[in-house]
Amino acid sequence: MKRQEKFQRLVRPWQDRLYAVALRRSGNSAVAEDRVQDALLRAWRDFDALADEISVYAWLLKILDHVSADEHRRDQRRQQLAPVISTGEPLLQKHPCAAPGPFEQTLQGQQHEQLLAAVESLPDDFAMVVMLRDIEGLSYRDIAQVLEIPKGTVMSRLSRGRRLLARLLLKQAEPNQMPDCENGALT
């Protein structure tokens, strides 16, 4: 009975969070439900393999990622180019909403759905780290374990991913629809 109780106590509390992630990744509630079921069944099967070096939630996310990563997506992931943009990139320098104050207003104007869609539209390597860090709140160590990459790679992908995300949101924000931007940055 002990193993069951431990599973119930450690794993079940995360099921809603897993579902939220699966739903964001798949955009379909039935698919998300299936994946969560699969992931939790696998978690139960492999429960003895849960190690101390990883948090339970990170471990579950790793399982969910394996469940979700069909060949199709893995191929896509491989083929996607991960562009690197500099902090000195013209749009980030010159866009009227790029300065801190206007940028914050730009963010305020975004619906949650728009933000999530923007994250999902990033190249997968970037989308994953941004999702795991900023939305799911994982530590770099846990993200490194989930994605099986070094911590330094987590940091560089996150730096680049957030920068790309900022640029994407700025591109979407039409300055003429956001008069506040004009005041902020062109001075």
């Binding site: 099921q15 579902y19 964001r24 320098q93 900023d134 530590s139 996150l158």
Partner: protein, 267 residues
């Protein structure tokens, strides 16, 4: 000029560390390096602020919850798995100790063929039968096919023939051939077929007349009832006559096909 290039290189290098600075994941030395750079580089300083804002904004997005119906479906699925696997887990652990490295092999092989429940089922059969000794006065062909069944439970399925062309003597709805191979029963060559039926695996072995009719008990039962049946250590063995020789069907009693739905092929 050279120092300007160095500064530019540093500017690029530090850009990959800005997230670590925002998230407080840098060591002291790295943090100092970044801070010194930020004091003189507005582009990077702004990037840090944008990253902080994005982090906060994304962190505030509420997490979608499962609908009550989805939750109860998940509850059912897990409750089932947890209960079943509780008992099975103990059996599996025992088997792992006994079978050592073999187990991984079996698990992978049977997982691919029939899924987890099948692998567990076979494992449980193995544990129950692990201490079995051939009883005196047993029927050799029955002992051999039971041993064959146990063997396929702990080793990769032999697959000498393409499964698509393998034609086992008995067929019934929902029966699917997993593998077919040559074996020896009572010292004579025989053809074996592993067949999946629902979530059970059954073994069919076609033997020659000499082997099939060797034992008087079998001869009498076949003459009287058209078949011989015996329960051997939790496994059911059914002996059915064919045009030339006979068929031995082995599997868990509850997994045996209905006599009415089964058709026998003549050879």
């Amino acid at each position: 000029m050279e120092s300007k290039q160095k500064l530019e290189a540093l500017h690029l290098q530090i850009q990959d560390m800005l997230a670590g600075y925002v998230d407080d994941e840098l060591d002291e030395r790295e943090a100092c390096l970044v801070e010194a750079h930020l004091a003189g580089c507005e582009a990077c300083a702004r990037d840090v602020v944008r990253q902080q804002m994005l982090h906060e904004k994304l962190g505030a997005i509420p997490h979608e919850q499962m609908a009550p119906a989805q939750k109860s479906r998940l509850d059912n699925v897990l409750e089932n798995a947890l209960q079943k696997n509780g008992a099975r887990h103990a059996a599996l652990a025992a088997l792992r100790r006994r079978a050592g490295h073999w187990f991984r092999f079996v698990e992978d092989r049977w997982m691919a063929a029939g899924g987890w429940s099948l692998a567990v089922f076979l494992a449980v059969i193995m544990v129950f039968n692990a201490s079995w000794r051939h009883p005196d006065g047993g029927i050799p062909m029955v002992e051999d096919v039971v041993a064959e069944y146990q063997h396929i439970a702990v080793s990769p399925l032999p697959n000498a023939e393409p499964v698509a062309t393998a034609q086992p003597p008995a067929s019934w709805p929902r029966a699917r051939v997993l593998a077919s191979w040559r074996t020896r029963i009572s010292g004579k060559p025989a053809q074996a077929y592993a067949v999946r039926s629902d979530n059970k695996v059954l073994l069919q072995v076609k033997v020659g007349e000499q082997v099939f009719y060797n034992n008087p008990k079998v001869r009498k039962a076949v003459a009287d009832a058209g078949r011989y049946e015996v329960l051997e250590q939790g496994l059911k063995v059914v002996a059915l006559p064919l045009d030339h020789g006979g068929l031995l069907l082995v599997g868990p009693p509850e997994g045996m096909p209905d006599a009415g739905t089964m058709s026998l092929k003549s050879f």
